[in-house]
């Protein structure tokens, strides 16, 4: 260990016995000193310095951009001298982060100038990386894709696209796959929040965060389940801490004691994969013991609550304690905190979503929040916190194999809408109609058939005898385009590798070479294109709070890299669909998105408005993200980034969805009447009438306004102009029946009963569903993970039976569970995976950045000190983590974050494969600073039966110290970093 870090730890020890009780609330109150009063947000006790001029001198300027890592949406400013990034500055009046950045955000400037970047297109020829020109690269890619389509059909190309590109680029990627003729197009959302979207959308109509990250400061209680914001969304902790400072209670619920748990009031730990019984244990207390559920709310706005209560009764606290490992008293403690809260939120991330029952986990959380009547309130709601800088945007653009942009699905109506949009678009010259689109696909059937997913595409590329079950498309996958997507975040990584070695062509697009280029052991058939980083491109991005910001280009693309926008337009041209992609400027794509994505209300997010918000971010306050300006100000009444739904170009955005306490023209909303006005059992699916404060009369439950998502404005060049359904919905003088009569081709009778003129969101005023009758489990039930230490429970709560032709594959969770029934005899630890604060995603950017790689230079397995003693290992020592799918060679990290039955590994690592280094397979000069084995070699082979989400959070593993000769050779710098950090000596 270095001298100074040794001494630092001694110095710290000197302070160990001191009690610290900083109470900033009282600190602020106690002072009358003007200087202290100027301490906005507690940042400084000196008077705030004068706002710095945006231009430091004649050549250096500050350019606003949004961090490229997680989805909190933090702003920062790049310091630019001429066309070079020379540093970064805090954006102190940004309403989300107020200048604050975690280690990842603080490292952006360095990343732009990273020497490890891919500088030119390269192609693998006879086992060597050869630099080629752009024209050669793009023409070879296009020709190969056209040849493959000719010979095998358009479904033989898998398009894997990105959460890290702008909305415009994401939209174009989806559009390009459509014009290429396939639904085999998918992105990171599949493996992150696909189960969230399915679970929430099937409960109340949309699948996004119900409020903003800022709003959680108002939560009287916050249940943080399967989420570690201290590491995954550090800046969000700002608001979680504010909630505590305001007297709120923060609860973490998950297998580990995490860094977030250290900032919580209650830590409840349950066995990985037992979320549903845990929630039912809480609900049992809330409903049957305390009677604290909100009957009025349920009666008025929820359907089929009886079915939910019946199910809750099956999960009494003792049963729950047995399944989950959470004692009855602890269940009660958590339940009481939620039941006594004025308003509460439940938030989650991958710990909740990445399970075979992910969709049902999320359904359970939503039902909990509904039971308490806390949904759709300030400080109350359900918050799936997204992972990447534009994953919300890319999800809305539906780089998803079962949707067209805006979640329209793939049925005839969806394609009619989108061919109409693409034909009508004044920003492209091409024409297209439904029949013309059918001709581009294998058939009409395949045009409407959900495609392969990011999580299991490889099954489509393996030979028949290696595949698990059937492939339901004419031919296997022959080409893979991996555009801004890491592969080490996919489970079954060994089979991913085999698939990469089997296809004819792999195209990888990234600023740093990803393992799409380096994992496969093959001598040719790989082309890598150098992408510009986010600071070098321009466009809009949507954060986890549904708000959209504009990224301004700081500098032109470095080296010979190109922006995704440029590459997509070029590729479209070479694939002979250029006339549908001949936009004059990127803002025209923003406009086309506003024109077409009407379902979730992106019409009001015009480029002019988005830019105005980003440029004037400083006028938005941090409690509601509302513009704190006088009424005559241009932005008066608007919410930062115009959170969708934003129904037209004067709409302020909807900061809290489902909230009926506001007029819909002022950000109010209601549950979506998504499943018609009557359930299959004949129950009403519109809400009960109510009288809100903002209206003098009763507001009735109403269906969705007819064709609100498909009618285009008379002048398509004004995408944010009100259409009849939007206008009539929001207007106080019109009813749904009026809209039905005004529009052509609408069955008026269906709307006859809804003739009350009142202001509504176009999505109606419906009910949240207690019973989701279209899902396999109508109400959540417990199902043991595919790999479980509890054989007995696997019998009593088996996983899903085999599904055939599910996203073109067979999925047999129950079969795998039976095969692995006795796995616990061999592998006795429960392994889960997650994030570490310094790294993001597959780690291609952060493991190539000195700031972050230096601070986190080690791939590790967290093991409890007792386990470490038994194995005879200490932090930094190498050990094998063995699982059924494969094994990983990593270094130990001894900590009490895990108990003696658990192991945790981060997933950001690559460069070592089952103990063998492969950094020599990287193009020269682009070898990562820090490498490690990939935990997704070993994570379980279960998948969510509703979305194909990979079940990476509940695996069984064994541990074995490595022998000397097995220890891999890490890069010298990485070894130095490890010594610096005290992991090794």
């Amino acid at each position: 260990m270095r001298l100074d870090s040794y001494i630092r730890s001694i110095g710290d020890h000197c302070m160990q016995t001191n009690v610290l009780d900083i109470d900033r609330r009282n600190m602020m109150k106690a002072t009358g000193v003007a200087g202290l009063a100027a301490a906005v947000g507690g940042r400084t006790l000196l008077a705030e310095s004068e706002a710095k001029a945006e231009t430091l001198d004649t050549e250096t300027e500050l350019v606003k951009t949004i961090c490229s890592h997680c989805a909190v949406g933090c702003g920062l400013k790049m310091r630019v001298d001429g066309d070079t990034v020379v540093g970064q500055e805090a954006w102190t009046d940004h309403p989300i982060n107020e200048g604050g950045l975690c280690s990842k955000g603080a490292s952006i400037a360095e990343s732009v100038n990273s020497e490890q970047r891919l500088k030119d297109p390269v192609k693998k020829v006879d086992g060597e990386w050869v630099r080629i020109g752009w024209d050669e690269a793009m023409s070879e890619i296009a020709e190969t894709l056209l040849d493959i389509r000719e010979e095998f059909g358009p479904d033989s190309t898998m398009w894997m696209g990105s959460a890290k590109v702008t909305n415009e680029e994401a939209y174009l990627f989806r559009k390009l796959a459509a014009f290429y003729g396939t639904n085999n197009v998918d992105h990171q959302a599949r493996i992150c929040h696909s189960t969230t979207v399915q679970g929430l959308a099937n409960t109340w109509g949309f699948g996004a965060m119900t409020q903003s990250v800022n709003d959680v400061q108002h939560a009287d209680a916050n249940l943080i389940i399967g989420h570690n914001p201290a590491e995954a969304h550090p800046v969000m902790m700002r608001y979680i801490q504010k909630a505590r400072a305001n007297g709120g209670t923060v609860i973490t619920a998950e297998p580990r004691f995490t860094k977030t748990s250290a900032h919580a009031d209650i830590s409840a730990r349950f066995r990985s994969g037992t979320d549903i019984p845990f929630i039912y244990g809480l609900l049992y207390h809330i409903v049957f013991e305390f009677g604290a559920h909100d009957e009025e709310f349920i009666e008025g706005r929820v359907s089929d609550w009886d079915a939910v209560e019946e199910k809750i009764a099956e999960y009494d606290p003792e049963t729950v304690a047995d399944i989950t490992g959470v004692p009855v008293e602890k269940q009660r403690e958590v339940a009481e905190a939620l039941a006594t809260a004025d308003v509460s939120t439940v938030e989650w991330s991958m710990g909740a979503t990445q399970h075979t029952v992910g969709t049902q986990n999320i359904r359970a959380y939503a039902l909990l929040n509904l039971a308490l009547g806390h949904t759709g309130k300030v400080g109350g709601g359900a918050n799936p916190v997204r992972g990447h800088d534009n994953v919300q945007g890319a999800t809305d653009m539906c780089i998803l194999s079962q949707h067209l942009p805006g979640y329209y699905g793939l049925d005839e109506g969806a394609w009619q809408h989108w061919t109409n949009v693409w034909d009508t678009s004044p920003w492209t010259s091409g024409t297209i109609d439904y029949e013309g689109m059918v001709e581009r696909f294998e058939s009409e059937e395949f045009m409407q058939k959900p495609g392969l997913t990011v999580s299991r595409w490889f099954e489509g590329a393996l030979d028949d005898d290696e595949r698990k079950g059937e492939l339901y498309q004419p031919n296997p996958v022959k080409a893979l385009v991996v555009w801004g997507h890491s592969l080490n975040s996919l489970s079954e990584l060994k089979r991913v590798k085999a698939a990469l070695e089997n296809v004819e062509l792999v195209v990888g697009v990234d600023p740093w070479p990803g393992i799409a280029g380096t994992l496969a052991e093959r001598d040719d058939g790989i082309i890598l294109l150098p992408a510009a980083t986010n600071a070098e491109s321009e466009g809009s991005v949507t954060d986890t709070s549904r708000s959209t910001q504009w990224r301004f280009q700081a500098v032109t693309p470095r080296h010979n890299s190109r922006t995704d926008f440029e590459m997509l337009l070029d590729l479209a041209e070479r694939l002979d669909v250029g006339e549908h992609f001949d936009y004059d400027e990127i803002e025209d794509v923003t406009r086309e998105i506003a024109l077409g994505v009407r379902s979730i209300g992106r019409m009001g997010q015009t480029p002019e408005r988005i830019k105005a918000h980003t440029e004037n971010a400083g006028v938005f306050e941090t409690e509601e993200r509302k513009a704190a300006v006088t009424d005559d100000h241009e932005l008066a009444g608007e919410y930062y980034g115009l959170p969708w739904p934003c129904w037209h170009d004067e709409h302020p955005g909807t900061p809290i969805i489902w909230r009926d306490e506001l007029h819909p023209e002022e950000g109010g909303h209601d549950f979506r009447t998504n499943w018609g006005t009557e359930s299959p059992d004949g129950e009403s699916m519109v809400r009960s009438s109510f009288q809100p404060e903002w209206w003098d009369e009763e507001i009735e439950g109403v269906p969705q306004y007819p064709n609100y998502a498909t009618v285009l404005p008379d002048d398509p060049a004004q995408p944010g102009a009100k259409t009849i359904p939007v206008e009539y919905a929001l207007s106080p003088d019109h009813s749904p029946y009026d809209a039905a009569r005004e529009l052509d081709g609408v069955d008026e009778e269906a709307f006859e009963a809804f003739d009350n003129p009142q202001p509504d969101p176009p999505t109606g005023r419906g009910r949240a569903r207690g019973k989701a009758w279209n899902l396999i489990d109508e109400v959540p039930v417990h199902r043991e993970p595919v790999e479980t230490p509890r054989r007995d429970l696997a019998e009593e709560y088996p996983n899903y039976e085999k599904r055939e032709d599910f996203y073109r594959l067979d999925l047999d969770n129950r079969g795998e569970q039976e095969r692995l029934r006795d796995l616990a005899d061999e592998y006795s630890y429960v392994l889960t995976s997650g994030r570490q604060v310094e790294h993001n995603g597959g780690g291609y950017q952060t493991r190539n950045n000195v700031g972050t790689a230096n601070r986190a230079p080690m791939m590790y397995a967290e093991i409890n000190p007792k386990v470490a003693n038994e194995l005879g290992v200490d932090t930094g020592d190498w050990l094998w983590v063995t699982t059924d799918p494969g094994r990983m060679l990593v270094q130990a990290r001894v900590t009490e974050h895990v108990d003696a039955s658990q192991v945790f590994m981060p997933y950001h690592w690559a460069g070592i494969f089952e103990g063998e280094t492969y950094d020599d397979r990287y193009p020269e000069g682009a070898e990562p600073l820090a490498i490690g084995d990939s935990c997704n070699i070993g994570t379980s082979v279960g998948y969510d039966a509703e979305t194909n989400m990979q079940a990476t959070k509940a695996t069984l593993c064994g541990l074995e110290p490595a022998t000397e000769d097995e220890i891999p050779e890490l890069p010298a710098r990485q070894q130095a970093y490890q010594r610096q950090r005290g992991f090794t000596r």
């Binding site: 610290l20 200087g35 975690c102 801490q241």
Partner: protein, 186 residues
Amino acid sequence: MSSQPPRVIPNVDACIDCGGCNVTCKGEWELPENSDRIEVVTKNEGKLGGRLESGETAVPMSCYHCAQAPCEDVCPTDAIGRDEHGLVQVESDKCIGCTYCAWACPFGAPQFPDETSTTGSAGTMDKCTGCAPRLDEGETPACVERCPTDALVYGTPSEISQQIREKQAGELFQGELAEVVFGEDL
């Protein structure tokens, strides 16, 4: 009127060990990669409990520019002194790398980025400068400006009222340590 300089005091209630301060400082000053002028030390990892009692606590540690800086006292070449703000700074041409300052500092602030072994070849000392150049421009230290959870509080002791010090800095630095950092008369 005391002439004590403003300095960065950790607020351990808020620190989540995100590393923002460490990376910001390195980027701002283009430091060698192994110079951690500010870094977070975590204690009681995995335990729920009160801060600095039994619970997991993350403490951002940098140089506190002590009123009675032990490093200044022990430096044999007077390489360590005060600048016009009263901040403790090292003049590298005078530093002989003896590491006495590192032993004297209760907080481990002195860094030795050129160290090649733990004895004998330490290279010149480097440490937090209190962002003096930014102070000259009327700005706060970069770490303070960019901590996402306000875990770094900044000011001169004379601007802090009696009550605040007792609750905050006075508690973190108790007894002898408080004297070292803030001096006897405050």
